[in-house]
């Protein structure tokens, strides 16, 4: 029984690690894309609600994990922000994509498409390397 539980724990750890790496790898691309599509600057809670509405499993990306990525994108000058007062709470930090961010996003989309195509090809390929 202990061995079975150990296997379950190892599987869950491996899954969590893989999920964490996937999410951390694409979070910046997702945030940049959402903000690029937005008609107006958005604050963190608004962005989180957009993700909630589009993700099958919103728990994949904890809302609190969005903010360090937003800050990082801003420090890389891909986003810019301004703080505005709110009538129903603390001041809100509104983010929008910079010109550098748009140019970067165009390259990242291309890289994402290439990566997705590569992974699909590997996963759908038959007998990869087995005939060698």
């Amino acid at each position: 029984m202990w061995g079975k539980n150990k296997n379950v724990d190892e599987t869950e750890s491996a899954d969590k690690k893989f999920q964490k790496e996937l999410v951390s790898g694409v979070a910046a691309l997702v945030l940049l894309t959402i903000l690029d599509k937005a008609a107006e600057p958005m604050y963190g809670y608004q962005i989180a609600k957009v993700i909630d509405g589009q993700a099958e499993d919103a728990t994949v990306l904890k809302q609190g994990a969005l903010y360090p990525v937003l800050r990082s994108l801003e420090s890389s000058r891909l986003l810019e922000s301004r703080v505005e007062p709110s009538v129903s709470g603390p001041p809100r930090r509104y983010y929008q994509v910079t010109e550098l961010g748009r140019a970067t996003l165009a390259r990242w989309r291309e890289m994402w498409n290439q990566m997705r195509s590569f992974v699909d090809t590997v996963m759908e390929g038959e007998g990869n390397g087995q005939e060698c």
Binding site: K6, S13, A65, Y67, S75, S76, G89, R93
Partner: protein, 118 residues
């Protein structure tokens, strides 16, 4: 279970103790903005809802103070790698495990554990 925004922020500040002051300030400001906005939305949607009733679900979606602090403190990386090491290495040869070295990622400041040293 967290019952208020203030309690959540207090716990988050505790988790971030020892981190860079600017990181702490940003993390607290982000959490406060998000949690109070979410709370206002929840109360607007259901005026009978109290803060103590609404905050647990809001905090769950935002992430626990430990989860939110982890990218800044590197504790998650350490916890995971130590657990992995514990499963795969320690049982075989306890003396083979040395200390974990963590370095900040240039430009990001997030600790990244790169190797074991003996």
């Amino acid at each position: 279970m967290v019952k208020s925004v203030d309690e959540y922020l207090r716990l988050l500040r505790k988790e971030l103790a020892g981190s860079d002051a600017a990181v702490v300030q940003d993390a607290i400001a982000d959490a406060e903005e998000h949690l109070r906005t979410a709370l206002a939305q929840a109360v607007n949607g259901n005026p009978n809802t109290s803060e103590a009733e609404a905050i647990p679900a809001i905090a769950e979606k935002y992430g626990s103070p430990q989860e939110v602090a982890a990218p800044h403190t590197g504790r998650w990386n350490r916890a995971f790698l130590w657990a992995l090491a514990d499963l795969r290495t320690w049982a075989v040869n306890p003396s083979s495990l040395g200390s974990l070295e963590c370095s900040p990622i240039p430009g990001r400041g997030e600790p990244f554990c790169i190797s074991f040293s003996r």
